[in-house]
Structures are given as structure tokens and as C-alpha cells.
């Protein structure tokens, strides 16, 4: 576990350099909202391969990594670009042509797996799933209630990402992390992962965290690395600072368009040069 009294600040480049090929990464946010997209683009620039991506509702992030050939496996609930953009085209092709292995979940079964890891138990019951083909597909077990209610419950094995990567609003140098608006699934991701990396829009003074500690979603002692990348969730949103850049997502979706050109327009390049 990380320490709580030393600076964890580094550049995005240094942060991504700590990710080995084949790492299992849980990515925070949901669809085009508050995803660690600058981090994902830097994975591509550093040519990471064989990654496992874990996220209940990935979209642009997983699609981009599939487009660049960085993914070996995805464990996901629902994958789409969302907004008014529909399916994630490069992800879809990667599954259809078997370039990647998909472990299809319900969002809540993936969460149950993360909870099993977070709670330190060998499996976690998950409500529902009755009548679905997903449990058989994934080889999940169904247990009878040992306390005699007569209910059967599906149990999900632990899912422990190597690294949870969270895009946050504010962070301090020790890693205390604040998110405004919904934190989606980021809390359970941070508790289930072996390590936590935080990319944040801006640094905030430690004093402000002491004034409102209940606003801290992830305490710094759980965080291993911190990078500050303004606009890093581009072309998605980061509430309440900026919204989805719809023209840029549209341009990304143009199959004749260039991935390099899209990556070259990213705001973190300015940061990387400075950092």
C-alpha cells in the first residue's frame, strides 16, 4: 500500500511508463463521461500491448485501445459510444474477428466480482441473473441460501484489477481524490484494485481536503500515482468543467479519419511537453 506523506505527483508519461504490457486495468467513469482518456491515449503512444480492460460501461476508451491494437481481453457490461453515436465500431470488429477475448457481464455482476476482491472474500452473491444465458457462458455457480430461505443466488468470483485508473476533478500531491457529480463505479474500482492511479483536472490544497474530508472519495494512502492533466477526459465530459466535444467524437467515428490526427489534437500533449 502506498504511503500517505510523500508526493506522488508525476507526469502522465511517467505514470503510464509504470504500466506493464498485459496489465489488467480498471478504467473509471462511464461512456463519454469522466473517463481517464488522456491516460488511455498515452498507453497507445507508449505502445502497450495485451492489456485487459475492466469497466462496467466502456466506450471511447475501449474502442480507441482496440483501434490501436492494445487489447487482449475486455471484461465489460455494456460497450457503446453512447450519446447519439451508437455501437463502438473498432471494439465491435475486434470481438467479431476474435482479436480480443470478451468476458461479457451485467454491470452488476462485474461489480460483484470487484466487491468480492474489495471485501476479501472468495465470491460475491449478485442479485438477479436468473433466466439469463450469461452465468452459463461465464461458468458462474449458483448457491442455495444456506440459511433456508429457499432462494438461489448466483455467485461471482473476485475481479482484482492490477491498476484502477481514475479521472478525478481534484487531487492533492498525496493522492486524496475528489470527484464532483456521480462517481459512477470508481469507488469500488479503487477498493478492488492492487494499485490506484489518479489523473486529475487540477491540484487542490491539502487544507481544503481537511476542511471537507467527507468529500474525499479515495484517501491518499490508497493511491500510488498522481498526474494533473487539465481537460484529460476530452473528448468526453468532466462535470462541471466541460461537456462532451461532439464534433471531435464525430470526427473520431469517421472510419476514413486518421487515429494519429485524433491523438495529435489531444490536450495532454501540451501537458506532456510541459511536464
Amino acid at each position: 500500500m502506498a504511503s500517505d506523506h510523500e508526493s506522488k505527483l508525476m507526469s502522465l508519461t511517467e505514470m503510464v511508463a509504470r504500466v506493464p504490457d498485459g496489465a489488467a486495468l480498471a478504467l473509471g467513469g462511464s461512456f463519454l463521461h469522466r473517463g481517464p482518456f488522456a491516460f488511455v491515449r498515452e498507453l497507445i503512444r507508449q505502445n502497450r500491448k495485451g492489456l485487459e480492460i475492466i469497466k462496467q460501461s466502456p466506450g471511447y476508451d475501449l474502442d480507441l485501445l482496440c483501434r490501436a491494437g492494445c487489447v487482449a481481453k475486455a471484461r465489460a457490461g455494456i460497450v457503446a459510444m453512447e450519446g447519439n453515436f451508437g455501437l463502438a465500431p473498432w471494439y465491435r470488429r475486434a470481438v467479431e474477428t476474435k482479436q480480443i477475448v470478451l468476458e461479457e457481464h451485467a454491470c452488476a455482476s462485474l461489480t460483484a466480482g470487484l466487491r468480492a476482491a474489495a471485501f476479501g472474500v472468495p465470491f460475491q452473491p449478485c442479485g438477479g441473473l436468473h433466466g439469463s444465458d450469461l452465468p452459463r457462458l461465464n461458468g458462474w455457480a449458483c448457491l442455495k441460501d444456506p440459511y433456508g430461505s429457499g432462494q438461489d443466488v448466483w455467485v461471482i468470483p473476485p475481479i482484482s484489477p492490477d491498476i484502477a485508473v481514475i479521472h478525478a476533478n481534484e487531487v492533492n500531491e498525496f493522492g486524496d481524490t475528489r470527484i464532483y457529480g456521480t462517481y459512477n463505479w470508481d469507488r469500488i474500482m479503487s477498493r478492488s484494485a492492487q494499485r490506484v492511479f489518479v489523473v486529475a483536472e487540477r491540484l487542490a490544497p491539502v487544507e481544503t481536503f481537511k476542511e471537507r474530508p467527507e468529500m474525499t472519495l479515495i484517501p491518499g494512502f490508497m493511491v500510488d500515482a498522481v498526474a494533473v492533466v487539465p481537460n484529460g477526459a476530452w473528448p468526453g465530459s468532466c462535470w462541471p468543467y466541460y461537456e462532451i466535444d461532439y464534433p471531435e467524437v464525430e470526427s473520431y467515428m469517421d472510419e476514413a479519419g486518421s487515429l494519429d490526427a485524433h491523438l495529435a489534437r489531444a490536450p495532454e500533449l501540451q501537458e506532456t511537453r510541459r511536464g
Binding site: N84, H105, G181, T182, W185, Y246
Partner: protein, 243 residues
């Protein structure tokens, strides 16, 4: 008599499933249910608890987003009810009405959002499990919609059963189905189309006993939808043709 478009038919008939004082949820990839919930707030005189995937609890968004998970949908909330919260609410039986997406629906109200073709050799890889497999069997009522009414969307046999359980209603541009005694039955159909057409374009056997033409949109429903989509962008994006 006021006329329906495919778009207004789906949004308004989704809204008509919302009941007073209940907890009603709209999720990701669910622009039409999001509009239905906001329409019900503007067109109906009763209160209900609207929660959404953006963490919103009774939100008063300053604008209507293209993405149904946009954080603007938590504006005006007095709480943030994050993803684990609304799933747990549902699995413990406290979610009254849940809108869930589907690519295929069968006559039992089961859904496929996973694959067209064999799961292991897909012709089309679809978005996947999402909320359905857990929410459909555990919500008190679930309602889905299809923007295309055809034998490839309303099917006799699903390519894959992503979710099964408590489907209460299905809305297409042509018809409204509800579940009765374990099967989907026709509740009403588009008043400018025929019952024969509904039967001919549905892949599962249509039980039309007691069904009637859908009542026209009320002036308040029409005004509410117009206020939510004044430029017609949502209607254009939805690309709904009755066919």
C-alpha cells in the same frame, strides 16, 4: 385528432407506464426513456421519484442532453445516487419501474442485447449485458422499447438470452405490448395503422384480445415533448420510421 410520429408515439407511450409516487429509473443509452421521464414530469399532475444513471435524484436539468448518462441530469438533485446505489435498490426490490434497452425481444418478454448470431461467432457484436440481466428479474416492473417494429426485433427465438424476468411493457413505433400471464400481449396499436399489420410484422404470436387503438397524445403530452425537443434534434437522431 392529434397525430403521432414514430418518435412521439414511443416517448409518450413509455411515459404512460409511469405511475404516481413510484421510483422510476432511466439508464445509459436510453435517450427515449430519459425524455419519457422528463415528459411525465411536465405533462402529468402526479409526483413520482425520478432517478437516473447520472446519479440524479429528482433532478431539474438546465438542458436536455444527447447522452442519457450526461451529468447535467444530476443538476438540481439534492443527492447523488451512484451506480452501485441504484443497482442495489433494484435487487432488494425497491425499484418500481426501470427502463431497459433491448435489441431483440421474444414473446416471453426476454431480451437479447448481446449478439446477432451465435455468441461465439457473432454476426454483430451488440453492446452487451448492461443493466438487463440483473434489473429485469429484480425490478418490480421493467419496460423496453424498439425503434423498429419487425420480425428481426420482435422475435420468436432470441439469438441469446441476455435477460429474463419482469418485463412489464414493450413500446415500438407501431404498438404497445404488456405482459399478461407470462406472455407479451398487445395492449394497443398505432391508430392510423391496422391490427393486421401489427400481427404481420411481429415475430411472435400476437394475442390481441382486448387490444384497442392507442389513445391520441393529449395537448399536455404534445406540449411537453415539444418543450423537450424544440429543434427536433432528438427526433432526427432517433431515426424512427413506422415503416
Amino acid at each position: 385528432m392529434a397525430e403521432w410520429s414514430g418518435f412521439s408515439y414511443i416517448v409518450t407511450n413509455l411515459a404512460r407506464f409511469i405511475r404516481p409516487h413510484e421510483v422510476t429509473f432511466s439508464g445509459v443509452n436510453s435517450t427515449l426513456p430519459m425524455l419519457a421521464c422528463l415528459l411525465a414530469k411536465r405533462a402529468y399532475d402526479f409526483e413520482f421519484v425520478y432517478i437516473n444513471v447520472a446519479g440524479g435524484v429528482q433532478p431539474t436539468p438546465s438542458k436536455i442532453p444527447l447522452s442519457s448518462s450526461d451529468p447535467v441530469l444530476s443538476e438540481g438533485s439534492t443527492a447523488i445516487f451512484a451506480n452501485e446505489d441504484f443497482y442495489d435498490l433494484c435487487t432488494r426490490g425497491r425499484m418500481d419501474l426501470c427502463f431497459l434497452g433491448a435489441a431483440q425481444v421474444d414473446g416471453l418478454g426476454r431480451t437479447n442485447v448481446s449478439t446477432i448470431g451465435d455468441w461465439h461467432n457473432p454476426k454483430v457484436r451488440l453492446p452487451g449485458g448492461g443493466g438487463g440481466a440483473v434489473m429485469l428479474p429484480t425490478a418490480r416492473r421493467a419496460v423496453t422499447w424498439r425503434t423498429e417494429h419487425s420480425k428481426r426485433t420482435l422475435v420468436e427465438t432470441l439469438d441469446f438470452v441476455t435477460a429474463a424476468g419482469g418485463m412489464h411493457g414493450v413500446v415500438t413505433p407501431l404498438a404497445v405490448f404488456v405482459k399478461r400471464e407470462g406472455r407479451l400481449v398487445l395492449q394497443s396499436w398505432h391508430p392510423e395503422r391496422s391490427l393486421d399489420e401489427v400481427v404481420a410484422r411481429t415475430g411472435f404470436a400476437v394475442d390481441a384480445r382486448g387490444a384497442e387503438p392507442t389513445p391520441p397524445p393529449t395537448p399536455r403530452e404534445i406540449d411537453a415533448l415539444r418543450s423537450l425537443d424544440p429543434q427536433g434534434q432528438f427526433e432526427r437522431d432517433a431515426r424512427i420510421s413506422i415503416g
